[in-house]
């Protein structure tokens, strides 16, 4: 799925990385636990999370994750977007709940990590 398709099905806003909407995503991982995210072995994984603070983007930076969707309308702060931009990340925000976001993306063919 491309970022732009994901944006459409989730009615999401792109907060950062508009220039990368043609990139494709195959797999996603949903968690609010950053230590859990830090155990992921591969890095071509999209993160779905309700945890919206500076440590979310720091965790992504360390784990080499490139794309995140903040669920339930969680607002990213300016410092978060600065770190995201510095690391060429794609940041989306949707009003959908975590469960709905996962359901929609799973149905659309996004694969789980485990």
């Amino acid at each position: 799925m491309t970022i732009s398709e994901i944006q459409t099905v989730l009615n999401a806003k792109i907060l950062c990385g508009e220039d990368k909407i043609t990139q494709t995503i195959d797999r996603a991982f949903a968690s609010d636990l950053m230590s859990d995210v830090l155990t992921l072995k591969s890095d071509d994984i999209m993160l779905l999370t309700g945890l919206c603070n500076i440590q979310t983007v720091r965790t992504m930076e360390m784990a080499d994750l490139n794309t995140v969707i903040f669920v339930r309308g969680k607002k990213a702060t300016e410092d978060m977007i600065d770190i995201a931009k510095e690391n060429d990340m794609i940041v989306l925000q949707t009003e959908c709940s975590m469960f709905r976001t996962c359901g929609i993306l799973y149905e659309a063919g996004i694969k789980p990590v485990f």
Partner: protein
């Protein structure tokens, strides 16, 4: 050989990870293999967050050689009474504030161990903790 030193403030979740971020940039510039960089910075970041979350503050010392990186995190604080227990997945004494930041699953120390080639944790209760790790390039 390159030496770096980073102070770490207790409870400062805004800046937690800035040392790890800086080490990541340096290793990238040195063209270290990306999978090794990831192991180093994931381990360092977990340890850095531990100093922010569980100690009263400390310092990170980084030494980069041609063939390895050696990192020492030294903090003042409550220390770890039972290191074997702290190394167990799921054991955590993290405060509600730390959990709100997305940490406190008791997965950090086991994940550090998993990512590094050498790990040594020394601690004295009510004095502080020293975590030393090495990753070979």
């Amino acid at each position: 050989m390159m030496n770096f030193e980073y102070p770490v403030q207790a409870g400062d979740f805004t800046n937690a990870g800035s040392a790890s971020s800086s080490v990541k940039k340096t290793l990238k510039q040195l063209n270290v293999d990306p999978s090794i960089i990831k192991r180093v910075v994931v381990a360092l970041y977990e340890a850095e967050v531990n100093v922010v979350a569980h100690s009263h503050g400390g310092t990170i010392y980084v030494v980069i050689d041609n063939d390895k990186i050696a990192i020492k995190l030294e903090d003042k604080g409550p220390g770890i009474p039972d290191i074997d227990l702290a190394m167990t997945v799921g054991y955590s004494t993290a405060s509600p504030q730390v959990r709100e930041m997305g940490f406190g699953a008791g997965m950090g120390l086991p994940n550090i161990k998993h990512n590094v080639d050498y790990l040594d944790v020394k601690s004295e209760v009510n004095v502080g903790t020293i975590v030393e790790m090495i990753v070979n390039f």
